[in-house]
Subunit: 340 residues, 2 copies
């Protein structure tokens, strides 16, 4: 019997400011024998997401920091290749948090750790994106915080990304005007022509908040009622200037400055003047709503109404480079690593 070898990326060191390739270390270890209740999953795709950067720091955040010298955490889809758990059979397609590695041994008795998925009408990779965590993130922020009414205007930053692209399409489904903000003409074209947003602003054409605010005014003639914020900084500053009274902001992501220091919010008094609601959230804390979200997202994907795009890096070795590219906006659509 041959031993299966498993390539894994560990966190080798914490970034001093910008994350870099030297923060990761590739190792190869034998897959251990399964204990009772465990299953062995061979990963087909690994998801790379911006939240992983935050976990690389040892700072107070919503998630525990990633441990040093441990396998980098991350969402995965794959196939059960061995099972000592009666709930899972060899051949089952599954989604879980298998991490940056080719195989994962999972204690599958714990509820929710590993979930079977149906890849008949929905591609397996989509369970890491549009019908996975990013899709549910979009759904939650839009439906539970922004609560848009038909005819309202919803603005989303990082609009071509895994989350933003779903926000705008779901807003259109609800009869809203959807306006994206993205980096570069190609992404903006995609957001309007393929995803069906009403407009998209290339923030690279607007160095200061004033210029961006003027572009938003042109794209949102009736003002902004809902904002799904993936970026923060000067983009949020500009959006705030255009928010209508009683507007809602779902705060999903915020960048920091080059050295990791916070970027101040320039005009917080607008939150009062315009009587805005701003709410930060993390979708994994609202698991009770996932079934409802996945039902809508899955139906829209299977019927071809909800478009998505993937940026696929090839092979486990490519993970760090693809991740660093994601952090600098080089990806175009949901960033994945293909492992088989």
């Amino acid at each position: 019997m041959t031993t299966t070898m498993n390539k894994q990326w560990l966190l080798a060191s914490r970034p001093a400011g910008k994350a870099e390739a030297a923060n990761f270390r590739l190792v190869e270890t034998p897959v251990p024998a399964l204990a009772d209740g465990q299953v062995l999953v061979r990963h087909h795709y690994l998801s790379l997401d911006p939240y992983m950067r935050g976990r690389m720091d040892d700072a107070k955040s919503y998630a525990q920091p990633q441990r040093l010298d441990a396998v980098m955490g991350g969402g995965t889809v794959g196939e059960v290749v061995a099972s000592r758990n009666e709930r899972f059979a060899v051949g089952d397609k599954v989604v879980g948090m298998g991490g940056w590695q080719q195989y994962a041994v999972i204690d599958a008795d714990q509820r929710g750790v590993l979930n079977k998925v149906d890849a008949t009408f929905i591609p397996l990779s989509a369970y890491l994106g549009v019908v996975g965590m990013p899709g549910v993130t979009a759904w939650y922020g839009l439906t539970q915080i922004i609560e848009p009414k038909a005819g309202e205007t919803v603005v989303v930053s990082a609009a071509s990304g895994a989350v933003g692209s779903v926000v705008g399409q779901l807003a259109k489904e609800r009869g809203c005007r959807a306006v994206g903000i993205a980096g570069g003409a190609e992404k903006c074209r995609y957001v309007v022509e393929v995803l069906g947003f009403d407009d998209c602003i290339d923030y690279r054409q607007h160095a200061d908040p004033k210029s961006l605010s003027a572009a938003l005014k042109a794209a949102c003639p009736s003002g902004i009622d809902g904002n799904f914020e993936n970026v923060g900084g000067t983009i949020l500053d500009a959006v705030l200037q255009r928010m209508n009274a009683f507007g809602r902001i779902a705060l999903c992501g915020m960048i920091s400055g080059y050295n990791g220091q916070p970027i101040p919010l320039a005009q917080p008094q607008l939150l009062l003047v315009s009587r805005l609601k701003l709410q930060g959230f993390i979708v994994s804390e609202h698991m009770e709503l996932w079934p409802e979200a996945l039902k809508e997202l899955g139906t829209l994907v299977a019927s071809g109404k909800l478009k998505f795009r993937e940026s696929i890096a090839d092979g486990i070795e490519a993970a760090p480079e693809a991740f660093l590219g994601l952090l600098s906006g080089k990806n175009f659509g949901k960033q994945l690593v293909k492992l088989v």
Copy 2:
């Protein structure tokens, strides 16, 4: 028949930065004869409130700017001294928005413009404070935005003021730990010893947010679950550092810098990291909840459970000076001007 003369304060000019006495002009005009449907109210008390400063500017805000050369707007209580309206009789005690003047002629047919009040168990002046707009402001932010649960910690800035004092007492009624922030040892002593807050921090002892944050940590050993924010700036910066996950911030007031420029929020990413909800509000936009609020506030005042304190300036002539004092924190409790 003698003509009744009416002393009135007009807005003479808009402030360039700090408001000053020269922005106001005192005039005396004869009270006109009543038309059908009108009543004449003799004011007993005028309310002075921080929101008036915002209205003196010609900037975008939630309220229309105060018009130049018009009587300064403001809440008043008084007595009907003449009536050509069947809903009001001479002798009725009434609350309304009579403005900075001794008398007001009111078109009393419009619903809500003038309301009769019962001064049997509640002093007339209290209808401008604890059972008026400031009290309902406190009630709304606490019950509708912060929604505190027993055992949680609620922090309120400007804690000895007309709004803040009610926030803390209502929080205590609901089984919370109430911690105030106020300026000076005397106010802090009052907040704890008379109002019954658990603790009060003198922000004048803490020049930078770090020092204030440390004081908050000591006063809130279990962190902060709810914040009623009347001040903003470095106080809000410090509070944000101590907010627990899923905390709620009711944004009621924010100061600006000396020249009227906004004060940035230093660490907006904390709103995301701690999954906070922050909501700006203006109580006059939620009139449907006033009856419920006033019922609780009135019952607590009549039974002596809800304490309040007034700072009373004497005579219409004193209004501008009292108002400028309010803006610099010289008042101690609800600022009123006694007009009879």
